[in-house]
């Protein structure tokens, strides 16, 4: 679904000579995300995982390598890739329904059809009844749910999520992880999610990739099924306290720590 071949991102020109900490952000990333996967990119802060997501989204052009989504090479941002941002990026001049319906409005088409569709996705993220509320009245978790509904309303091939729960409090964060798994299960979308939370990554991922510090390479790739098991009905806390889960979490944590290797 998402294919990355030898993707490299680096600064060119004047910046190269003035940047002390290396100029290569991503160093030859090869990665295939199968259709329907919930792929998670994990790595120490500042390692370039968001850069990789931005390359897939088409916001950054790679300096080398090839990126393709659903067989089509990526040349810029496009409606086949929906993006959910950490700072939600909702438009405060539109109400909740208006925000979710925006991608459909940009595409043209009847008002009733797009509002029906927007209502459907608001229901999916548990926000029915909030349609006409201004988004600036909502809590952080609710705003992220609007962001997810909005990205889904555009019906993308892939949903790209850049630390979507990074700014939320711990409890809301866990709720949102469970909601995301529910939404993923219900829609069957391919998702690529960036996070620096190890437990979050292990819980959600079907495909977990750990990046090294800059210049980033893939240092670990695991296929997991904890998220899928939760989506099929197992309790989140029960899964997170399984010996299996704890052991994977500690191993991955070890890998990330080894990469972090410095005082922050």
């Amino acid at each position: 679904m998402v294919e990355l071949q030898a993707v490299t991102v680096g600064y060119r020109g004047a910046a190269a000579s003035t940047t002390a900490v290396g100029t290569t952000v991503l160093d030859g990333i090869d990665w295939q995300v199968p259709a329907g996967a919930l792929a998670v990119l994990l790595g120490p802060s500042g390692c370039g995982k968001s850069s990789l997501l931005n390359v897939i989204a088409g916001f950054i052009a790679p300096s080398g390598g090839r990126v393709a989504v659903a067989g089509r090479p990526v040349t810029g941002p496009g409606a086949d890739r929906g993006v959910v941002f950490q700072d939600d990026a909702l438009l405060p001049w539109l109400d909740v329904l208006g925000n979710v319906a925006l991608p459909l409005r940009l595409r043209g088409g009847g008002r009733t059809a797009r509002e029906d569709r927007a209502r459907h996705f608001l229901q999916l993220v548990g926000l029915e009844g909030f349609e006409s509320r201004p988004v600036w009245e909502l809590s952080g978790g609710m705003r992220q749910r609007v962001g997810i509904a909005r990205a889904l309303a555009a019906d993308p091939e892939v949903l790209l999520m850049d630390e979507p729960f990074g700014a939320l409090d711990a409890l809301t964060r866990e709720r949102m992880q469970e909601l995301l798994l529910k939404v993923w299960h219900a829609t069957g979308k391919t998702i690529v999610l960036v996070t620096h939370g190890v437990e979050e990554a292990v819980f959600l991922a079907t495909d977990l990739v750990v990046l090294s510090r800059r210049p980033a390479r893939i240092v670990e790739h695991r296929v997991l099924d904890f998220g899928r098991r939760h989506a099929q009905g197992e309790g989140a806390r029960a899964i997170k306290s399984l010996p299996d889960f704890v052991s994977v979490r500690e191993q991955v944590l070890g890998t990330v720590y080894a990469q972090d290797g410095g005082l922050h």
Binding site: F59, R81, G82, V83, A89, R107, P134, A154, L160
Partner: protein, 285 residues
């Protein structure tokens, strides 16, 4: 010996009828210490001083007529008029000039500001021009405008337009540059074209700054009014004040100044209300 009187028992156990609601409403400051009341008192004290100073004849009425005389003048100018026009016609002429100038300024400055905020190259072209003329007082370039455009309405409206234009174009360009990058990216990821990005993200995102620019611009424009009406006007508040001063009609001068101030105050309040209505999200996300 009973230590507790019936009165004490009543207040301890249950409040008397009517007392129950009193504690539930938090006691605000008394009416006379609220900001609005203080301002009102301040204005009344000034009026009182003005009246006292003139009633005691400390200052000649020629220099400072008493408040009652100005009030009387207001009634007369409002009814019979002064220099062939009533107060309302003078105010109307001034408001029409400023309104027309505001319209022209919005129609030109907002698109240019959007373009300047959008493209660094365009900003590079226009920034020096705007920064060059912006700090120059309108009175300084008024003669040039008169040489180029004559002494008619065009020059007056143009002068006010120029005064509004600079703050508005700068505010608009700033507003565009302050639109969050993730909001632009979100729209692009939904397949927005450049026009859709402008229409759905950039313009509404810059609207709070644009409205602030209109407020600042209208303030500057209104204060340029007297200068604009110096030249060959036959109506207008600025013209009224200027002419009255030449005949030492101090009461009319004061009346004109008060009218100009009150209208400016009203415009500011109106624009603030408009801002609250159009951009209620300002400062909230």
């Amino acid at each position: 010996m009973s230590a507790i009187s019936p009165l004490t028992v009543r207040t301890l156990v249950q409040p008397a009828p009517g007392e129950a609601e009193a504690p539930s409403r938090p006691a605000g400051p008394p009416w006379w210490s609220r900001p609005g009341a203080i301002s009102l008192v301040s204005v009344l004290v000034l009026l009182g001083l003005w009246h006292a100073v003139t009633a005691l004849r400390w200052i000649e009425p020629l220099f400072l007529p008493p408040p009652a005389a100005v009030w009387e003048k207001l009634l007369r100018v409002a009814g019979e008029g002064y220099l062939d026009a009533t107060l309302w016609q003078h105010a109307g002429a001034s408001l029409a000039r400023v309104g027309l100038a505001l319209l022209f300024a919005v129609l030109t400055a907002v698109p240019l500001g959007l373009w300047m905020g959008w493209s660094a190259r365009v900003r590079g072209v226009f920034d020096p021009l705007i920064e060059f003329y912006r700090p120059v007082p309108p009175l300084a370039y008024l003669p040039l405008i008169v040489i180029w455009f004559g002494i008619g309405e065009v020059s007056k409206v143009l002068l006010i337009t120029l005064a509004i234009f600079a703050p508005l174009v700068i505010a608009t360009a700033t507003g565009v540059r302050q639109v969050e990058e993730t909001r632009r990216r979100a729209a692009l990821a939904f397949g927005a074209t450049r026009w859709q990005l402008l229409r759905h993200v950039v313009l509404p995102g810059a609207l709070p700054e644009i409205l602030t620019g209109v407020r600042v611009g209208l303030g500057v424009g209104w204060s340029t009014l007297v200068a604009a009406e110096l030249v060959a006007a036959t109506r207008g508040l600025g013209f009224m004040v200027q002419s009255a001063a030449q005949f030492l009609n101090t009461d009319i001068v004061l009346l004109g100044i008060f009218t100009i101030a009150l209208i400016a105050f009203g415009l500011e309040l109106g624009l603030r209300a408009l801002q609250r209505r159009l951009v209620p999200w300002q400062g909230r996300g």
